[in-house]
Amino acid sequence: MTKHVGYVPEMKRNWWLKNRYFMAYMAREATVLPLVFFIGCLLAGLYCLLQGQESWLTWLEFMQNPLTIAVNLLAFVASLFHAWTFFQLFPRVMPLRVGGRAIPAKWIILGQWCGVLLVMVLFAWIFGRGV
């Protein structure tokens, strides 16, 4: 008998539209798009800062454009969504044990969110002081 008798089904380009798990996966992967924009903004800001006052002011203006703000807000929401999916997956990738006992996934997820909160408070404190 020859190997692979019969036919091999092909995977179409839109395979990920087939069910909600694939769509959720694609949404998770797509969060990178607005984040790339955000990183582009940061790098452009650094570059403009080095170029002198005039280009820095142009950059500031660009950052205040409602469209820029909207995409950056989207990037913020996307990063929170990505964090949410990542935190959900983390306990399955790194099941933590203390004294031979598994720590419940719920606690690990909660711990991660506490970390996020802590970082946000820290940032607000550092950058809030100057205002």
């Binding site: 692979h4 008798v5 019969g6 036919y7 091999v8 995977m11 395979w15 069910n19 996966y25 997956l89």
Partner: protein, 239 residues
């Protein structure tokens, strides 16, 4: 007794080059499984219908098929769960030999590649190897796999590249690596470290969703990534 319609994908290579659909009405009650419905068709309506089964109790893993686009065990899915016509196809991502019978060769090759058995050269071969409940708990969940292949049909990465070792094989590798009685980890790691090993997985996670034995292959594969990263790091320092 009421009846339900099954729309089955047929593939009869000796008659036609391409698969086609055929509909059958089968009598059913609350306890009728998809597998029983297929048996009814084969016995009463069309003897040429081909599919695999053996235990009809979700143990042997032979009766995997796509039911309404989801990978399912025919013996563990019931007609009552599906309103309307039920669409039945062979497991996705595998070559089809006839009707619902797929060619599992590549799956078996991947399984064999990870040496899924205890490798232990120390001591007498007749010696019993003791294990504490805590040591057992580390891999127990991953040892429930029945090699049904449903997770491969749920894995788009395997669909795109059949060379990917895939969820069940990588889970088995991890299962034996975690076993305190096993010493074969060094022999298995090269398989995990390969590009078609753990790193092809992008954690879609659907494999764990469809697994009829709640093995959670996605977790095993991604724990394998942690192990693989550790292994690569250690090998860097060893040089």
């Amino acid at each position: 007794m009421t009846t339900k319609r099954l729309s089955i994908q047929r593939y009869l290579p000796e008659q036609r080059k391409t698969p086609f659909r055929q509909e059958f009405d089968v009598p059913f009650d609350d306890s009728t499984s998809i597998l029983e419905a297929l048996n009814h068709i084969k016995e009463e309506i069309d003897g040429s219908l081909s599919y695999r089964w053996s235990c009809r109790m979700a143990i042997c893993g032979s009766c995997g098929m796509m039911v309404n686009d989801e990978p399912k065990l025919g013996c563990k899915s019931f007609l009552r769960e599906y309103p309307g016509t039920i669409k039945i196809e062979p497991l996705a991502h595998f070559p089809v030999q006839k009707d619902l019978i797929i060619d599992m060769e590549i799956f078996l090759e991947h399984l064999a590649a990870v040496q899924p058995y205890l490798i232990n050269d120390s001591g007498e071969s007749t010696e019993t190897h003791r294990q504490t409940p805590a040591q057992l708990a580390k891999y127990l969940k991953f040892s429930d796999c029945i090699n049904c292949g449903l997770c491969y049909s749920a894995c788009p990465q395997f669909g795109l590249n059949p060379e990917f070792l895939g969820p069940a094989a990588l889970t088995l590798a991890h299962r034996y690596n975690l076993d305190s009685r096993d010493q074969g980890k060094q022999q298995r790691m090269p398989q995990l470290n390969r590009e078609e090993g753990v790193w092809t997985c992008t954690f879609v996670g659907y494999c764990s969703e469809v697994c009829p034995k709640s093995v959670d292959p996605a977790a095993a594969v991604n724990q394998g990534k942690v192990e693989s990263a550790k292994d690569l790091l250690i090998s860097l320092f060893k040089r």
